[in-house]
């Protein structure tokens, strides 16, 4: 696809100009039903980069693992990954000065392989053919996502249905990327309010379903969902914000009862307490859960509720620190036990 070439050119250029030591992206494994992450260090390999609408794992997580003190990395990200990287930067797990994020505008990713597919708001491009978008193929978290444009990345790329790719720089570093690749920025303002509205409506519907239940009913719903859990740690392993090497959930921490299946609800609640305030709704947890537990729905709901409570939006501003580990001037002025 033409659009992929633009991004491949950018990747090759920044490697050539030694702006970065490596480019982290997705590539085709053995065939189009097999998408795997790849770390490119040789500009010849830039041709392997794939930007079809799949997200098999979180590149933010890989970036925090590979981007060391001295290594500069470029990452080809969707907005969810870009926001996750902002959250990781707040926790000092990566240094945004060493990361060049090349963002791709995203309207959803497919849950299962569908060939070379690109998702647009109402349509999808499958192996070159434009078709009406069947929302069932999208990951559930994508339907709730309000951030299609990676404004928090250094570069934003917009893919159009005819395969064109419009590129714009959001930061100075983005501009240095574009000049290295000898690409002129093309500003084309896009009104994403219908997308945001749709996402918020979807959130209202999904979270409303949970909130609409009577408390006992709600509790039983969650107990029933967590009864399916086989403690594979997939949710924690794939969550970009879960970076602790000495995780609370491991049996040697003696917190969650070992040898118990399903694990007690404390397993999920601990994770909810630890990162619930910063969940960026990337949906990797639900992608990784073998038992189809609506983990992403729960964590996103928590993050939205806490967002209202603490006036915080996860993943946008690296200087806005996570609410659970910050206090503000406002806090110091209040006297009561409540936040109001």
């Amino acid at each position: 696809m033409k659009c992929a070439e633009v991004i491949q050119d950018i990747a090759a250029a920044i490697l050539r100009e030694k702006l970065v030591d490596g480019v982290l992206a997705f590539a085709q494994g053995v065939d189009m039903s097999d998408i795997v992450p790849i770390l490119i260090t040789d500009e010849q390999d830039a041709r392997k980069i794939l930007i079809a609408s799949y997200q098999p794992c979180s590149l933010a997580k890989l970036a925090s693992e590979y981007g060391g003190e001295s290594k500069k990395l470029a990452v080809i990200v969707r907005p969810c990954d870009a926001r996750a990287m902002v959250e990781l930067a707040k926790r000092k797990q990566l240094d945004l000065q060493n990361i060049y994020s090349i963002g791709i505008e995203c309207y959803g990713v497919a849950r299962e392989p569908q060939g070379e597919i690109y998702i647009f708001p109402e349509e999808m491009l499958v192996d070159g053919e434009v078709k009406h978008l069947n929302k069932e193929i999208l990951s559930p978290s994508c339907l709730r996502c309000e951030y299609p444009i990676p404004t928090m990345a250094d570069v934003s790329c917009r893919i159009e249905k005819d395969g064109n790719c419009l590129v714009a720089a959001n930061t100075e570093r983005g501009e240095s990327v574009l000049s290295a690749a000898k690409i002129t920025a093309q500003e084309k303002v896009k009104d994403i309010s219908p997308i945001k509205e749709r996402a918020l409506k979807r959130q209202e519907k999904e979270f409303g379903e949970i909130k609409g239940m009577e408390p006992r009913e709600r509790l039983n719903y969650w107990l029933r969902q967590f009864d399916k859990c086989i403690k594979c740690y997939g949710c924690r392993n794939s969550c970009p914000i879960c970076y602790c090497e000495d995780c609370y959930l491991e049996p040697e921490r003696l917190l969650v009862q070992k040898e118990e299946y399903p694990p007690e609800m404390l397993f999920h609640i601990t994770r909810l307490i630890h990162i619930g305030d910063s969940c960026v709704n990337c949906g990797q947890c639900e992608t990784a859960c073998p038992m189809n537990i609506p983990v992403s729905k729960l964590f996103h709901m928590m993050s939205k509720e806490l967002g209202v409570l603490f006036k915080y939006e996860a993943g946008l501003d690296v200087d806005s620190l996570p609410p659970m580990s910050t206090i503000t001037e406002e806090d110091l002025a209040k006297g009561g036990v409540g936040l109001g």
Partner: protein, 598 residues
């Protein structure tokens, strides 16, 4: 430099594919693989930690020969020469049948094929067996008798499409988590789950009916269900008349079954048996899933035949969402059986007693003759050792010191051998008794094919170089064979071995490495290169033509509780430990979850 190499999980038989994260020649992590039909981007805790044991310090790195009760490290040429001489000696002195081989359900198809070829073509004995004897041997025999093919009839993915699932003797959520995923998905689509298990297990919470029958009473339970189905006319008369034979003998035998008796034997109330039978028979599609709970009995084969009877009675064979589905334990136990690592069959389940088959193989293998009588099974081998008939054993990738019954018996037997060769990746309990220990390469260090429980042949790629001086098992066997002057063992790659496998195994004839270069692999039988693989067996007709009913009469267990021994003990599995713990015991994340048995 980081790379993600696709391999097949080395643990259970579900056959999930995963990506090994390799940095500078070291495996540092595992990632799930999107787009795989079974794992679908998910893994269980064992899959997520399948990399932990690879670089463990216990890994065997040099060949060793035992001298005066302690191991001395030697070079490969020395080890190979020593073994070739000793094996040759013992064969010449005591005859080929004084040697026995245990192949490995964890090694690739290529390696299993080579070991049984070595035993048969180079040594001249059919004494080849492996751990399937301890688990699904009843399946291989039972389903072969009933259907003509001893393997899972349907695919794992179509379990999610069924309307009713009858789980007997399988703690699916602990043993085959990604298969349990399909069960839960079916349930969420409205399927009914009937669980027959003496214990309360995680999947009981999702069962619509949990029959807690007494251990060992499976035949009685199923006979009771069949009786009720016949009494109420719920059987599939069309299917029975067109596709099966010997129904009358089953009908006659069931006439003697009374549900009141069954209640007494199994401890399950009559109403529940009736309800289970009605659920199973009336659903449009019903699937039976079973595992060790019914196969590890003296009446194991009877239990399997009963399941086959039940499925045939209600026409639940050959369609999506139906079938008799044994869940095989090891990642390549299906493959090891397919490759003929069994005492009575050659690759492709062709009988050793069949002259025509022997004639064909003699040509392909370039030997004068092949042994015509079936060899000894695992348990028989060890008994034979104590009787003095077997003098040497070659054990590849197995740990009978933990996995076989009656360990003191096993230890006595292994200690009394003239020569014991153990080829493994870790110094297991069996390896410590050996005379020669050969360091083998783990699954991440070699290329090869593995066959999962739903007959899916998949290609696993090499991620890193073998550690230390370890070698892939196929290289070791080839070197040993060549040292013993065998021709036809000059393979230079697993792909070459597979090309030979295709020639002699009809079910694998249409499979080749380039066709396997896609995540889904190919399900056998795949007779030609244009064939897409077979996801559902016995669609139009059974492998043996018509399905055969077998009237089974309930037999009491070999040992029942009495005043002196009043308890029934049964075995079970846990999620994070696997088999003899040689691998999971050395994976910290897996070991801390369940550090001890209980």
């Amino acid at each position: 430099m980081v790379e993600f190499i696709p391999t097949i999980c080395p643990y259970c038989g579900a056959g999930c594919s995963l990506l090994l994260e390799v940095t500078d020649g070291v495996v540092v992590g595992t990632r799930p693989r999107l787009g795989h039909p079974i794992s679908q981007g998910k893994l269980c805790i064992k899959g997520w930690n399948a990399h932990e044991f690879i670089h463990h310090e216990d890994r065997l790195k040099k060949p060793m020969i035992k001298e005066n009760s302690s191991f001395k490290e030697v070079s490969w040429p020395e080890a190979i020469k020593f073994m070739a001489e000793r094996l040759g000696e013992i064969k010449n002195k005591n005859g080929p049948d004084s040697l026995a081989f245990l192949s490995s359900a964890k090694c690739t198809n290529e390696e299993n094929y080579l070991l049984q070829k070595f035993a048969r073509a180079v040594i001249g004995t059919n004494n080849v067996d492996h751990c399937a004897r301890l688990c699904h041997a009843s399946t291989v025999v039972g389903l072969a008798r009933a259907f003509g093919s001893g393997a899972m009839t349907n695919s794992i993915a179509d379990i999610a499409e069924t309307e009713c699932i009858f789980i007997i003797g399988s703690d699916t959520m602990s043993q085959h988590p990604l298969v349990a995923r399909m069960i839960i998905m079916a349930k969420e689509k409205g399927a009914k789950i009937i669980l027959a298990d003496p214990r309360t297990i995680q999947v009981s919470k999702f069962a619509d009916l949990h029959l807690r029958h007494k251990p060992g009473s499976d035949v009685a339970l199923i006979n009771g269900m069949m009786k009720y189905i016949l009494d109420k006319g719920m059987e599939d008369k069309d299917f029975i008349s067109k596709r099966t034979e010997d129904f009358d003998s089953l009908k006659e035998a069931l006439q003697d079954v009374s549900l009141r008796e069954v209640e007494k034997i199994t401890g399950v109330p009559v109403e529940e048996i009736e309800k289970a039978a009605a659920l199973y028979a009336k659903a449009k599609t019903s699937s039976i899933i079973y595992a060790m709970g019914i196969t590890q009995h003296t009446t194991g084969t009877d239990n399997v035949l009963s399941c086959a009877n039940l499925a045939m009675l209600t026409g639940n064979i050959g369609k999506p969402g139906t079938g008799v589905n044994p869940l095989r334990g090891q990642n390549n136990v299906q493959g090891a059986c397919d490759m003929g690592a069994l005492p009575n069959v050659f690759p492709g389940y062709q009988a050793v007693t069949d002259e025509g088959v022997r004639g064909k193989l003699v040509e392909v293998w370039g030997v004068a003759k092949l042994p015509p009588m079936p060899g000894l099974t695992v348990v028989e081998m060890l008994n034979s050792v104590l009787e003095g008939k077997i003098k040497a054993m070659y054990i590849m990738g197995e740990n009978p010191m933990i996995s076989d019954p009656d360990i003191s018996h096993v230890e006595e037997a292994l200690n009394s051998l003239d020569l014991l060769v153990v080829q493994d990746i870790f110094p297991t309990e069996t390896a410590r008794l050996a005379d020669v220990v050969l360091p083998a390469a783990s699954y991440a260090e070699k290329e090869g094919t593995y066959t999962g429980t739903d007959r899916r042949v998949q290609l696993s790629r090499k991620a890193i170089e073998p550690l230390g001086e370890s070698k892939p098992d196929w290289e070791i066997i080839c070197e040993l064979a060549r040292e013993m002057k065998a021709e036809d063992f000059s393979f230079t790659s697993p792909e070459e071995i597979f090309e030979e496998i295709r020639k002699v195994t009809p079910q694998y004839a249409g499979i080749n490495y380039s066709r396997l270069n896609q995540p889904a692999g190919l399900q056998w039988p795949c007779p030609e290169e244009s064939h897409q693989g077979t996801s559902i067996l016995h669609g139009k007709e059974f492998t043996r033509g018509k399905g055969k009913f077998h009237p089974i009469v309930y037999k009491e267990q070999a040992e029942t509780p009495d005043d002196e021994f009043p308890f029934i003990l049964t075995t079970g599995r846990v999620m994070s430990q696997f088999h003899t713990r040689s691998m999971t015991g050395r994976s910290p994340k897996l070991d801390t979850e369940f550090p001890e048995g209980f």
